[in-house]
């Protein structure tokens, strides 16, 4: 069964996506890497997303190999500049 994950975009990545968030349908066994590949192919602006961006799954930084689950919140984190 396919699953749906919520992708969030901030700062420069939001400028690329042209949206704060996108719902993406993926095969049940998909990883973060699969999601990145899907997004880079699916939306013209997101072709400029780095192939290995920093990503957080459910509020925690997660490597590209992380397996996703239905309903996960996957945030794309451009280089951070707080303070």
């Amino acid at each position: 069964m396919p699953m749906t994950v919520r992708s969030l975009f901030f700062a420069t990545y939001r400028d690329l996506a042209g949206a704060d968030e996108l719902l993406v349908e993926l095969p049940a066994t998909a990883t973060v890497e699969d999601l990145v590949r899907e997004l880079r192919a699916a939306r013209s602006g997101l072709a400029a997303l780095p192939p290995a961006p920093a990503v957080a799954v459910n509020l925690e930084y997660a490597p590209l190999s992380t397996r996703l689950s239905d309903g996960d919140e996957v945030a794309f984190i451009p280089p951070v500049a707080g303070g």
């Binding site: 901030f10 920093a54 990503v55 490597p63 945030a75 951070v80």
Partner: protein, 149 residues
């Protein structure tokens, strides 16, 4: 109910209130780090900054970093407040209060919290310039393994 000591807010930061909330009777010192919007960056005159945050994760990361600092230096309570939205020159973008039985540990812990905040808390800023235009400020790429437990 008392506010969480780790928060992202659109409202101006009240330093005196934050100190009052954080200090306990067992503390002998409290250190305030007050990060302020400066009027220039790289030789270019800055008129304002616009901050944005992934607020839920930012608050969780601030809590995590403060926990590490408390464990390492044995301080008392730590509070961290980060502003979002438009900030003018001179306004505080971040406040860190470290309360501690002794001052030496408070200095170390405060330095640790601001350095880690800059490396891994999901906050971004866009500089607005006096001569017009605005640009995202380049930042740190978070080390992903760091967050994996």
């Amino acid at each position: 109910m008392a506010a969480s000591p780790f928060r992202v807010t659109r409202d101006p930061i009240d330093a005196a209130a934050l100190l009052r909330e954080t200090v306990a009777p067992s503390d002998g010192a409290a250190l305030l780090f007050w990060g302020v919007v400066r009027n220039e960056h790289g030789g270019r005159a800055v008129s304002h900054l616009e901050y944005e945050a992934y607020a839920s994760m930012a608050e969780a990361k601030l809590r995590e970093i403060a926990g590490e600092a408390r464990e390492r230096w044995g301080t008392g309570e730590i509070a961290v407040v980060h502003r979002v939205g438009r900030l003018e020159v001179g306004e505080a973008s971040v406040a860190i209060v470290v309360a501690s039985p002794h001052r030496a540990e408070a200095y170390e812990a405060s330095r640790y919290v601001i350095e880690q905040l800059k490396r891994r808390v999901p906050v971004w800023k866009r500089e607005g310039y006096v001569d017009g235009g605005a640009e995202w400020v380049p930042g740190f790429t978070p080390a992903v393994e760091e967050g994996v437990r």
